[in-house]
Assembly symmetry: C2
Homo-oligomer: 206 residues x 2
């Protein structure tokens, strides 16, 4: 792609560094901004730089927060004995949307992935262990994605917890509500039979 302007080329290049944004999409986005009033561009760039420079992570669970303790950790009505371990703040938002969970969270910031150069020291595993050592947490729920990396991370944390008095659990894997049995992969179907639940409890969950 040949550009008639260095400024344009530069803006398109920086935009195309975002994940899933190719050169063509980047050009479309940049030309859209060019057609909009100048405030639009300024609002976007200020919002991004302000977020990056002023962002704060909850000192307890590592969730993004404007205050020292995030709203969830600061909420005394929530169950402080239950902590759900997730990769990312998007997972916190997804679980919060279900309105089915009243415990706290711990955001790891990723999962162990030697392929991408992410080791345990890049995640907030150490602060999780310290949280557990304080003794108020009774159960850790692992809610990482069920990939090789997710399983590795679960297992790594599990090993670090040895000797500490804590129950660990993992969220149920099974067939999605509304899905057809015949289209489900064998691993999921197999697990959902192994980990079957009493019929009464499935009625209660609605």
């Amino acid at each position: 792609m040949e550009f008639s302007s260095k400024l344009l080329e530069n803006a398109v290049y920086e935009m195309s560094q975002l994940p899933g944004i190719g050169k063509r999409t980047a050009l479309r986005l940049v030309l859209h901004l060019l057609k909009q009033p100048e405030e639009r561009t300024n609002l976007l760039s200020t919002a991004l730089t302000k977020l990056k420079s002023q962002v704060n992570f909850c000192k307890c669970c590592n969730n993004i927060s404007d205050t020292e303790l995030c709203e969830i950790c600061a909420n005394t009505k929530r169950d402080g004995t239950l902590v759900c371990v997730v990769e990312d703040i998007r997972d916190v938002m997804a679980i919060e949307n279900t309105s089915q969970y009243n415990g706290l969270y711990h955001v790891l910031g990723g999962k162990i992935s030697p392929m991408e150069g992410v080791g345990p020291q890049d995640l907030t595993i150490q602060s999780l262990i310290e949280r557990v050592k304080k003794g108020t947490i009774k159960e850790l729920i692992f809610a990482l994605s069920s990939t090789m990396e997710g399983d590795t991370t679960n297992f790594y944390i599990y090993r670090q917890l040895e000797g500490l008095e804590i129950t660990t659990s993992t969220i149920a894997r099974g067939i999605s509500v509304g899905d057809e049995l015949e289209y489900t992969d064998e691993v999921t179907l197999g697990r959902s039979i192994l980990h079957r639940v009493p019929f009464e409890s499935s009625i209660k969950a609605g």
Copy 2:
């Protein structure tokens, strides 16, 4: 979607104002930037604000350019008697990529669209007419998209040119090179028969 931070919410909101970027994609992009070093965000926002504040349009053809006259208009080896009328600088880039055109361009900046509130005065039609009145241009090639709005714009310009000595043409519509006849829509197939070209010239075009 509920956010744990106003700063994050604001950044996601501004990002989701871009065309084709929904709230979920915006969140993914913003979280990606959060994980990157601060320079990345700064480079992106500086590139965007710099482009918007310093952008310059060629005073002749309205193409984006860092100089007063764009490289194409300033190139004396190009044929100044031929001007291709396009909507957008992306069309200039597309035609330049073919290496089949040696004339100049005129970028309208859009097409007449009453539905989107774009009238003739919002485009660079007046400056095109003035360019034609100078007398050096012999042929205008309309290369707008073949939609209702494109056709309206073509016709509007054509009417404005009445009384001026100029040839007007439009780029050929037909079946794409490599396409199968049976899958082509009737309008395109019909036009490609009406506007058939001598076999010899199709051999030359390769």
